[in-house]
């Protein structure tokens, strides 16, 4: 475990793992739409995946692709006027019973017992996720007391344990501080600590390292991974950064315009990408260590307007492999074991 008192150290690589552990969350054909005067935005339009115990699922896509709304749908915190219109999200609880999260009253008792307790959420910007007028200690003990019914002292004790777990030295001191007194990396550790306070079985991390410097990012990713090893929680890791995904995920879902375009193990996705969008994304990014200063292969055009998603394959307007008629109704098919692609030309394009 990384603590700030450790000397500088060199981490050991951790290989991607198979998704061979029990399923804790089964999301099936989830659709979340926003009905606005100007039309309907299908922010999430048919997304299916499973979270496995002790494994990390990465969700990658550009802004507006629906990756955050997917996470919000699970917790019932989709901002208005967004609504889960169909699909199912089945949570397997610690006692083995199952709970359907779709259709729960977002203000009801049931979902509130899940939120922060069984499913925890880490937001992108640690500063805006924390209350500026309460101490870290206040914010973490609040969660613990709410969900476990612990008294003040027990909650305090648990809080100190968790703070030590996330590598914050002198927890009693940190707990008495306000968010603005901590650095970005320490704040994100505190947020992770709050998320872990009730030992959730699922952690949803929404761009948790985007606001951090690379050196801090590396440390936080390592922390998340080692916490997963000790607690066995399932992680849904949302990011737009393909480098981070390659670093932490076991399985990856690629989203474009609310739809899942590809799902595969992290190794397959990076070494054998099948969807033209995934291929184009991987080609367009500058890579460290590429010697030739060649031009980048940019993806042409812009992300389409969410009110008028192109018919048929949503990516066809920017796809260099587009063939009229054939690409009108791409189906989501398994092209190799565990490798799903929504492209009519999957297998023939590279």
């Amino acid at each position: 475990m990384m603590t700030s008192t450790d000397a500088v150290r060199v981490g050991t690589p951790s290989a991607p793992r198979d998704m061979d552990t029990p399923v804790v969350l089964d999301v099936n054909d989830l659709r979340t739409h926003f009905t606005l005067p100007a039309g309907t935005v299908r922010a999430v339009d048919g997304v299916s995946y499973r979270l496995h115990r002790g494994r990390t699922l990465g969700i990658v896509g550009e802004s507006g692709c629906g990756k955050s709304v997917t996470a919000q749908s699970i917790l019932g915190i989709v901002p208005r006027p967004g609504k889960v219109v169909s699909g199912s999200m089945v949570l397997t609880r610690a006692d083995g019973s199952t709970l359907e999260l779709a259709g729960l009253d977002p203000k009801g008792k049931v979902i509130r017992s899940v939120r922060g307790n069984e499913i925890a959420y880490i937001f992108q910007e640690p500063m805006s996720a924390l209350s500026p007028i309460h101490t870290i200690g206040h914010q973490i003990t609040e969660v613990i007391r709410l969900h476990t019914g612990a008294n003040r002292d027990q909650a305090r004790e648990r809080a100190e344990t968790v703070m030590r777990q996330v590598g914050l030295p002198r927890p009693d001191e940190v707990l008495g501080r306000y968010p603005h007194q901590l650095s970005g990396g320490m704040r994100q550790r505190a947020v992770i600590g709050i998320a872990l306070a009730c030992s959730p079985s699922i952690l949803i991390a929404d761009e948790p390292t985007t606001a951090l410097d690379v050196t801090t990012e590396a440390v936080i990713l390592d922390l998340v991974r080692s916490l997963q090893d000790t607690t066995g929680m399932a992680i849904q890791f949302i990011t737009h950064n393909l480098g981070v995904i390659a670093e932490i995920a076991d399985e990856v879902v690629v989203m474009y315009m609310g739809r899942q375009v590809e799902r595969a193990s992290v190794t397959d996705l990076f070494l054998r990408p099948q969807h033209p969008y995934t291929q184009a994304l991987l080609r367009s990014m500058p890579r460290l260590g590429k010697r030739a200063q060649a031009r980048l292969e940019a993806i042409e055009g812009m992300v389409p307007d969410p009110f008028s998603v192109p018919a048929g394959c949503a990516f066809h307007t920017r796809c260099r492999h587009y063939v009229p008629v054939r690409c009108d109704q791409p189906e989501y098919l398994e092209v190799a074991p565990g490798h799903w692609v929504r492209c009519s030309r999957a297998g023939e394009v590279a």
Partner: protein
Amino acid sequence: MTTNIPLQTGTAPAGAVEGDLLVVRDLVKHFPIRKGFWSKIVGQVRAVDGVSFNVRQGETLGLVGESGCGKTTTSRMVMRAYQPTGGTIYFRDRTQGWLDIPTASANQVRGIRRNLQMIFQDPYSSLNPRMTLLDIIGEPLMVNGVAKGSELQDRVAELLRLVGLHPEYMARYPHAFSGGQRQRVGIARAIALEPQLVVCDEPVSALDVSIQAQTLNLLEDLQARLGLTYIFVAHDLSVVQHVSTRVAVMYVGRIVECAPTEDLFFSPKHPYTEALLSAVPTPDPTRRGSRIFLAGEVPDASNPPPGCHFHPRCRYAAEICRTTVPPLTEIAPGHTVACHMSDQLSLTGVHA
């Protein structure tokens, strides 16, 4: 009527070589920390603490480092948005010759501004929402008396085409455009006066992955076409490697290493550069890193550690590093590094 004859005109500063466009020497910026009713100065944030570098005509100098390292403050001083506490910034103006930006007269600065432009990070906050693209891109042309009326419109149309936008968009407001398109508008505004030097402050970090590549390509095309020189401030090392000719790495207000891009990335000589490079996540799951994890935090610039600022987090630190500031010395042609141990270490760069 007396004509204002600039004193420094034409005299090249010490340390300038043929082909230099900007020569920065011992640049210092301290921000006072004030406290109490009388706003008494209780300390100094040493945001930039003795920075020297040259920028050559036509190249791209990458300036990298973590937040708070002083890279933005440095670029702001080059733009004369901040007055330095000390040091000189000599710029070889197209018409006026060598001028020290911080001490230049108002008249001289007006001339310099035409040749020194900036591209901002956030394409949402850097464009006035109440101005049309014609107003935004045309303003520098109008203010500097380059064009007006229909000539102005023609010039703006040409600039829009140059950055890959339809000239018909001229009458629209920024809200009608996506982030990537807005950044193109910001670029068009910056190149409107055909500047010599453009300071790009994190120009692609607010953009989506697929738009980043387009924007980087555009910046490179414009550089080739217009002979621009860039100072490229960024924290994304893979982007910096892609665009830069040379790279300077900053840590707590000082340059710790400066070298041609390939040398810096493939054979870094400063332990901080090594750690920074090792922290970058690579998009290849078969090469999950053996990362160097730096302990602790970036030191507070108001109270930096003595000696080498990096020594508390450095795994090679020796006794001398705790007491003596390492000078920036040239260890290979064009490769400077500020580390006492640089000749004894063999550090790991990125893999090809």
